[in-house]
């Protein structure tokens, strides 16, 4: 099958160490991850001619003043406004731009300098601030506690179902030198952790932190003079505000665009060597697996019961530990799965490398507003 992006290649990836606290300004983290991705690709700084950035704490800077700051003369710019769905959407735009001949070397980067305090006090949209916050809501944890409670009620899921996912991600994080949470986690630890927002306990919630992730996408012309491994965007998709009239559909719409994504990629869920989910909360990970066709509605927990979902197992999910164990660097939560996917496909994953890794899927989710995240995205990446 012909690929929409047959002249577009991913040739490098970079990730800073995730830290609970940092003295570095966020632009420094963006710079470091970008430098690492370009070094990984074997490209010079001044070859960059496109930039896509997602960063909650970038203001008063924006994509173009960031380009100015970094010295990039750009023919393509993108600034992600869709939270954790943004990075995949930015890659999709970048692939179209490169395929059309608009640009040759595009860096897609995400970063934030966050901790628990600054996460709680960030500026919020009306849906959250004025129509939930005034009543004393529990921020993102509270929003997804509401979704989790309903999922449990509707499908009969129990805490152990979510716990299995968290334990499996933690096993992967133990092999990831950049992950923040690397100590072993048992089911007893999970179940006996303090309540955060019932039914969510401590290990259902991500740890806000600081860090950055980046990848480099290039045209065939550029890729052909590089010697390192390469991968490509086989297909991608997005949807927003789905369904527009139901906050509690327990879906953000992956099922609306992934059939077309699988078709364009010439692949199916069964062909994937790994899955990188946007794991802001276990319940959303389940909903993504169901929406992308890995499980029927309400049954994703079975995947974690019936498979070893670590990098050693039959169905590897969130192979670097995900946000739940590596940490959530704000908007970079939407990039950690992309970084991990490219690292696996290029054979650079070290102790957590999946043998003969050829294809994988990454999902994104974000833009939390009135009771839910509004934006969903996903892409299939493959080694070429």
């Amino acid at each position: 099958m012909s690929n929409d992006f047959d002249n577009v290649f991913i040739v490098g990836a970079g990730q800073t160490t995730y830290e609970k606290k940092t003295e570095k300004p966020v632009i420094r983290l963006i710079w470091e991850a970008t430098r690492m991705a370009l070094d990984d690709a074997g490209l010079a700084w001044n070859e960059v001619d496109g930039l896509g950035v997602t960063c909650f704490t970038l203001g008063p800077d924006n994509s173009v003043t960031l380009a100015e700051h970094m010295g990039f003369q750009c023919k393509f710019l993108y600034q992600g406004m869709y939270g954790g769905a943004s990075c995949i959407i930015g890659m999709h735009h970048a692939a179209r731009a490169i395929q059309a001949g608009d640009a040759d070397v595009i860096v897609i980067v995400a970063a934030d300098v966050f901790d628990v305090g600054s996460h709680m006090s960030m500026n919020r949209n009306p849906g959250q601030q004025d129509y939930m916050g005034i009543w004393g809501y529990g921020a993102a944890n509270g929003v997804f506690a509401l979704q989790t409670r309903l999922y449990m009620e509707r499908y009969g899921a129990v805490p152990e179902d979510f716990g299995r996912l968290c334990l499996s991600f933690r096993e992967n994080a133990r092999l990831n030198p950049n992950a923040l949470l690397r100590q072993p986690l048992t089911m007893d630890d999970y179940l006996n952790a303090r309540q955060i927002a019932d039914p969510l306990r401590l290990y259902d919630c991500v740890l806000p932190c600081s860090g950055a992730d980046a990848i480099v996408m290039v045209s065939r012309k550029v890729a052909d003079r590089l010697s390192g491994p390469r991968s490509r965007l086989a297909a991608a998709g997005e949807i927003h505000n789905y369904p527009s009239d139901d906050i509690y559909a327990l879906s953000a719409g992956w099922e609306t665009f992934t059939p077309r994504m699988w078709d364009k990629a010439g692949a199916s869920p069964a062909d994937m060597d790994f899955v990188q989910l946007y794991d802001d909360y276990p319940v959303m990970s389940f909903i993504q697996l169901e929406g992308m066709g890995f499980a029927e509605r309400g049954t994703a927990a079975e995947l974690f019961k019936n498979n070893d979902c670590t990098v050693r197992g039959s169905f590897p999910v969130n192979t670097g530990g995900g946000q739940l164990s590596a940490g959530q660097c704000g908007a970079s939560g939407g990039m950690i799965g992309v970084y991990e996917a490219v690292t696996q496909l290029h054979g650079h994953a070290g102790d957590r490398q999946i043998p003969d890794c050829r294809k994988g899927v990454v999902s994104g989710y974000g833009a939390v507003s009135y009771g839910r995240g509004l934006s969903a995205s996903a892409c299939v990446l493959e080694r070429v």
Binding site: A145, Q195, A197
Partner: protein, 139 residues
Amino acid sequence: MQMQKPQPRINSINRPFWSGCNDDQLLIQQCGSPACGRWFYFPRAGCPYCGATEFSWKPASGEGVIVTYTVVRRPQHPSFAPELPYCFIAVKLKEGPLMYSRLRRGYSPELNLIGKKVSVVFTEHGPGQRLPFFDLEER
């Protein structure tokens, strides 16, 4: 010293809702198009179902059913700390829209609130602003 609670960012789109609260009235928008006529909340510049900019602010019944809930133990804003823990609820109003609010009564861990009927009650939120909370309907 008691910390000031967050106050709504009042503007020309949402003013009728917030001033309705101060009159102990739950004013919700209803689409003015005869072909649509649906109720909607949160406040909007027009009907999100058909795009009509004709609408009226009408008192809702104040009755609804709890769709889902959580117990807040760590509020986004620290001013709510003295009230912890409390039940934060999503209520499907009889008129159709979904409204987030709180149960006025305290938290009881054994109670599954999903599907429980509730009715609105107005409470003091801070100087100059009252807020709709909900009470569980007596059986």
